[in-house]
Symmetry: none
Subunit: 216 residues, 4 copies
DNA sequence: GATGAATGAGTATTCATTCAT
DNA sequence: AATGAATGAATACTCATTCAT
């Protein structure tokens, strides 16, 4: 799992605070929002809850964000950027193709364990902000697919379709993470599950003697 | 993908209609609810919308269901049962292990294409009714894992952990379906994507000469 | 001022209550709304105030009306219909053309004195619901203009343009009513003001010896 | 329509800017406010909109005006002063009584066409600032009534009550302007409407042989 | 069984105004 | 003078649910 690092977060777009005080308040709101969205879900995440948690007045919210959806999108973007960053860094540390793969998944699971919010928030995004959701998946999968394409080039893996493989393995990781981290509320994935998954992943990608060009 | 068929839907539980008229009304409400949940999402699915679409008065809803969550759970249960049924039937038609696998996935994609509702509804269930969501996944994955275990017994596949493999491949199918059916709003998965996925799946499960018992 | 009677109020359109209880509640809301709009003006007329005055719960409002503007339009329509009715009846009682004129204005002033709401509400309508406002003026003026046209036909008045005259005299009545009834919060227009106005009106319309067909 | 010119705008009252920069800012705010009030109406005219249109920061507003009502009053005062000025000048140009009448109305319609804001703003004033509204009407009508009184003195017009006639004819002009300039969004009143109105006005005021009583 | 009127707590959002800089 | 962040009360409107008929 070699993941190319994400582009820097989009320069601006939303209201940019012009004073340090404003910047602090805005950050507090974002943090609070991440927590609230993850805890009670988008529909039950009221602006009141968010501002209360952030310790600011209700009206202040609208000084910094245009509305509920806007802050949601920003939270999703943030989280998305952070997982991809974490996965990219981790996979980059792997010396061999296999190590890169293992490190990438490990980073993903670790992030999942530390930010259960990610999952919960992303899953809601389907209805709330499909664009944000697609951007999230696309961002991660694209990086992964690129890594697979290079590995195939080098003959490190079988001639699988890199994009399809990336989506498939991303899905594998996602459900495994959901099942053994979120549902179990575990701090990390159990080692033997991790190894069993890696076994499946290796099988899916392992180079074979009878290797040929895949269709695309 | 050999999937054992689901148990018959739980005998009763909720209000059971005592007249044919009642049964018809109840069915109309369920159908309307599936549609509304799939279209606008749980939080925006108001009882009014459901009853309007069903063509009954607002109060009638509460004659048949205890509340919004209850009808949601029933819709989820329904859909869940129907996918599993479809997958089980299809995989049962496969002569060889590989054919069973292929047919199972095919049935899953077909169902996804015909009932995009399934996805959308399930993904929301995380917050609305975690139990229903877990029941859904568990139901499918358990059937699949059982099939994999038997295949391993027969030496048809590698010594992968059947449960982990089942979750992983379920995840693979899920994201592929999301990407190429839902996002494209396609009627079916493109053939080459399907084949590329099967290629990955086969690789993940294919028996090898150097095959040994996996840990669990 | 001969005013033809208004058409019957539009059959239905808005939510029609299906039970006597519903009808009663709806009527109470309309009455309350008329009062509130007249007292504090449209922008400050909150739904809460209206429902409190009507003695029903907030939500009940939306059972009967789609929103604030909708109830406003209905109130305007009501009032408009009632003035026109009153003016038409009164002018119909006049034996001569002059008497009709006098009675029409008298009815207008009487209505103004009894329903100061009319003025205040209509004047706001400009911004809130221009259609309603135009409908109101048009309805009254059209009736008046028709009466003038007939009077001209009979040679009872000068060859003035009936439409222009109707608007002009309507305006005269409006400002006079505003000045001497509303601003003075009087129960009726002072007799000498009324006579002075009638003098002006008679002058404007009086047939002359040198009378001919007017251009248009 | 002979209208005496308005007194110079009341010396000061509100915050007076002490620097040229301040004066400029204040003027920009007033201009913006006139536009905003005319466009969206008083209740929807937010201070933010006004300051944005004026290109200054929100807080700056309160440097120059005590609040929303205060700037509204000033805008009304301004407009009022300007119409009266225009009407007075125009009527002064008329050589004969009739010409003065015609010119006064013409000026009024021209102002209406050029500043539709006037109407819209005045009509709202009823609720927002009754004093301002009364001041506006009183100012114009008083000037007009004075002119009529003098004309009567000279025997140029019939013995109508000048005050009542002034209010009545003002009302006539107002509704005619509303109907044929504002509603039609026209640049000027159609010539034949103007003539038809003048015909009515002449009739109302024309001296007759049998001239007697105006009560007062 | 079915109806539809009634409820009232809850929602996102706006806005005039204050104030520290 | 000018700024822009912060406030919090107020607003229109929604909706799951209850209940008398």
């Amino acid at each position: 799992m070699t993941i190319t690092p994400p582009p820097a977060p989009e320069a601006a777009g939303p209201r940019v605070p012009r004073t340090p005080r404003g910047a602090r308040t805005r950050a507090r709101l974002l943090e609070a929002a991440e927590h609230v969205f993850a805890t009670v879900g988008y529909p039950d995440a009221s602006i009141v809850k968010i501002t209360e948690e952030a310790g600011v007045a209700l009206g202040t919210f609208y000084v910094h964000f245009a509305g509920k959806k806007e802050i949601f999108d920003e939270v999703v973007g943030d989280l998305s950027h952070r997982v991809r960053q974490a996965m990219s860094e981790a996979s980059g540390r792997g010396r061999t193709r296999i190590e890169a793969e293992r490190e990438g998944f490990r980073a993903f699971f670790r992030f999942t364990a530390e930010h259960p919010a990610l999952y919960r928030i992303i899953r809601q995004a389907e209805f709330v902000s499909p664009e944000a959701m697609r951007a999230h998946y696309a961002s991660i999968v694209d990086g992964y697919a690129e890594g697979l394409a290079q590995a195939r080039e080098r003959g490190d893996i079988r001639a699988v379709d890199p994009t399809v493989a990336a989506w498939a393995l991303m899905g594998a990781g996602e459900l495994i993470g959901m099942r053994w981290i979120l549902w179990e509320q575990a701090d990390d994935i159990p080692e033997h599950i991790y190894e069993a998954l890696m076994d499946v992943v290796q099988g899916a990608l392992a180079p074979t003697t009878t290797d040929e060009r895949p269709a695309r």
